[in-house]
Amino acid sequence: MKIIVCVKQVPDTSGVVAVKEDGTMDRAAMATISNPDDMNALEAALQIKETNKDVKVVVVSMGPPPTESMLRECLARGADEAYLISAREFGGADTWATSSTITAAIEKIGVEKDDIVLCGRQAIDGDTAQVGPQIAEKLGLPQVTYVTAIDYKDGKLTVRRALEDGYMTIGVETPCVLTCIKELNEPRYMSVSGIMECYAKPYTVWDFEALKDSKWISAVENVGLRGSPTQVYKSFSPPVKGKGTMMEGADKAACEQLVSILGEKHII
């Protein structure tokens, strides 16, 4: 069986965020990390590989050429093969166009009866959680999102899906798409031998030409910014509010003064 893991290299949004004039993010100007949920997806794949025979873990990513560093890292963690989907034509894609392009690549890799496609629930740059389900729809596969536990035995897949106030236990046919969240597992580090081997493992780059015959692409108008139903109308920064009233000191008197202000203004 094969497990295809969709991964994304994302700007570290906890650091400095650079924005271009057109309202899109200036990715080149920012530090990047492997998207956290995607690493839980990779870990889940590697765990299934460890406990089952003949499992191949394939990582797929769409992004600019520097994405190679993340894919090599995935290989160093234990993935067997990597595919980078990278072309100028794919740039500026919304979730519709992104999922079309990734679907084209996954179909080219091939999805067989026993296979599983794993994604992170969402990427921290967009937080949309849309690409996983949209890949599932375009591949015509069942999906389970927000997966917190995977039980895979003798080709039978049972997963646990988080709800706000509990969980669902779901049996799902393969092939299928699962999107993973951090409660699922603790991603492993790269091993020394993994790092040694990661440049010897199969690594393929697919550009627009390589994927254009897919029914999900077929023409350049169907990918990237031009193939995206949604467009940015305006983007803006939230204003910085003026500082409020700072109390003098931090003692009992300061607390009592604050409480009396709250009382006067009928806040309490």
Binding site: A129, V144, S235
Partner: protein
Amino acid sequence: MAFNSKDTAAFKGVWVFCEQRDGVILGTGYQLLSEGRKLADDLGVELCGVLLGSGVNEQFAKALGGYGADKVYVCDHPLLKDYTTDAYTKVLCDLVEEYKPEIFLIGATNIGRDLGPRVAARLHTGLTADCTHLDIDVEKYKAFLKTTSTIDVDNTKFEDSKNLKMTRPAFGGHLMATIVCPDYRPQMSTVRPGVMQTAPYNEETAARTQLVKIDVQLSESDIHVDLIEIKKSAKKLVDLIGADVVVAVGRGISANPKRGIEIAEELANVLGGVVGASRAVVDAGLISQDHQVGQTGKTVHPKIYVALGISGAIQHLAGMQDSEVIISVNKNASAPIFDASTYGIVGDLFKVGPMLTEAIAKYKAAKA
């Protein structure tokens, strides 16, 4: 004729997916209907609720009109009792293809965020995730920007159209983006729970609600998953979104997390509120995730928000900055939380917290 999502002129009306669990409609549905009513009025079109379930209670369906729905599509089928992606996607897409709404809003719950992208992909249209603000009218949008952005609104050109302007936080809340979907219909959006305000229930409009019963075409073979069990967590979850007062703790409690949470609980008790937390505290496993406020947690706008030992990362601010009054206690005078606060005390939460509780208790006792 085949369904064509690019034939924008063929689409009319605003729809809201009203999610039910165990036969009870979630508050998000009422919030979205209240908001959808304004959008429908701006467009001069109907507002419709869409209700899927098994043995749907007609009174519940009618009641959706009390929050603004002119019409409710009721899809009642044994296979719609509990949510499955396959069944709900099929029924909703069949409905959209037949009745062609121009706008379709879905609550960004764990289920809405599973369903929305699948429906949008099948229909070939755009979907904007986790919106916090919606506009049709450009003038209203400009008024919104005047209070929430640094844009020089009067000297900026805005494309005038009746397209839905869907605003959401992007890049972890560092930026707000307004998204449009000009060439495809329906314009779809998931909306964060708790962001839109529920309008007062109107009995007159509820009585007038038109119910449309849909002949649901669905069979076992449409569903490729087997829902084995739904389990509610035993613990009662905190109702952050509905609370008038939230006392939230941040990394500042890490010296003594147990005492820190206790202090927050005591303060919350005297104010009649609940305890919230920043992502750092939840990630460290000090408190459960249902307490989390912020970009990846819940959006709250209580009357009073007290931030104890919270530095005010932009992800956290995104979830609480619209609170009416924000009171912050932090040891670090340059913590960004003070820039968002109505009142600030620079001090140690372990000392200031209990003193505040005492002062409030004393004030309330004197007033009683």
